[in-house]
Amino acid sequence: MRGGRPDTLMAVTHGKLTRSTRLSLGAIPFVLLIAAYAVGSHLRRLENPADKLLPPFGKMADAFWEMATVPDKRSGDLLLWSDTALSLGRLGVGIAVAALIAVSLGVLIGFVPRVRASLAPFVAAISLIPPITILPILFIIFGLGELSKVMLIVLGTAPIMTRSLAQAVIDIPREQIIKAETLGAGPWQLVQRVVLPQIWPKLVTAMRLGLVPAWIFLISAEAIASTGGLGYRIFLVRRYLAMDIIIPYVLWITLLAYTLDRLLHAFSRRAFRWAHLEGDSL
């Protein structure tokens, strides 16, 4: 079979996968990880039935169910839901404020050369401050309340979002601006009809990328000074080595982050269909 081998090789690099093949290939790493955990958990409990480090799936499910459905003795809250609401609220306000700053500054920097000359180096410098290092300053200035946590998210994400939006404005081909001017557009109309509509999808992308560090800042701020929230909870129960709560919480946070990302992506595809016509998008 002289012709057989190249064909097989070609199939490896060029073959089209059916949906079911793709899904099952994608599931393999997950299944392997879960299996490895199950084996590890089983082996540890063979040695010590009271092992807390790798609790069995059933125990984690029970603990998680309890957090979700049994009111807390002290506060009477369903802790999972109150933690989730608190954290998502902080995250949402933080990202929304950062988006507002990013759009207004981004358009000004990208579209007005004078503003670009005066603000671009400043934003570039600010964006390089490791946000966690200013958390103590935020706590001192804004106290230990909600404001300092939201500010950490804003300061941690707004500068990079601003830079990427300013770049998106700069990337609008000069020809389009000229063309719009020959169609009678003034500066304000240019911003509204040519610039802003074209950066909305970039804003969604910037928010999706900003959410990654935003989660880190949220959990950090909650871990250090808070009385509720997903980050507060996992750092609280850490004292009791409560892996049966920590691991489901980590999975829950991951699921929330993933869902938010997918929702934003789906929103962009629906609202800005023109931006998703060419090429693949993640």
Partner: protein, 275 residues
Amino acid sequence: MSFVAVRDVAVSYDETPILERINLDIDEGAFVTVVGASGCGKSTFLRLLLSQESATRGTITLAGEPIPDRPTPDRGIVFQRYSVFPHLTVTENLILPLELARSRHFGRLFGARRKALCTEVDDILVRIGLAHASDRYPAQLSGGMQQRLAIAQALLMKPKLLLLDEPFGALDPGIRRDMHELLLALWEEIGMTVLMVTHDIAEAFKLGTRLIVFDKVRHDPDAPTAYGATITYDLPLRRPSAQRTDIATASVEAADALDQTISLLTNENRKGAPQ
């Protein structure tokens, strides 16, 4: 006073002359085609007429008035690429100039007034053969369809002067021929003045009533950038519209001969392979 008058115009970038001693008068209703080797400044000249760039020296007047220092609706433009707005559908691209004119603050109309505009451009859509594609975005159109849209959009403002910067450079030959027909028909119908920059000499002969060649007349082999380009040929092309097709065919043949002559004259051979 001629319609477009260019007087002793020169352009240099950081002391490097690009264009020098440009003098040109264009009559109203003329179709001027501009050719020349790459880098000879023909696109720079078009950008001067558009006010996208300004001359280092000299004056340009349009209908007796000095041209404004910003691009304005009295001069329409079609570029080779990026001429239509990717975030607007075909219809939205066409009503944009009307919206800009009627809504000074937002540049956008809503509801019944917007609907009225959409009906207003229906005829244009049919005329440029995009009626079936009115809800598509530019990314969903072929290159030829995009350029038809770009031309129609530019003409909506009824510009005194239509500027075309290699508008058909990226199109297939067959499509290009259709575009020529459309453009000539519109030009004859509206009677506007056109200035078109092109790489394609046959196209320049076929479409123009006047052909202009840009080239460097002075050349210093030790300092190739020492001198700018200027107008070296200015050929009136007689082309009564009734005989257009015959003459167009004849001039395509003539163009091949001239093509070779011009490329000799413009040193394209010396520089190596032309584009």
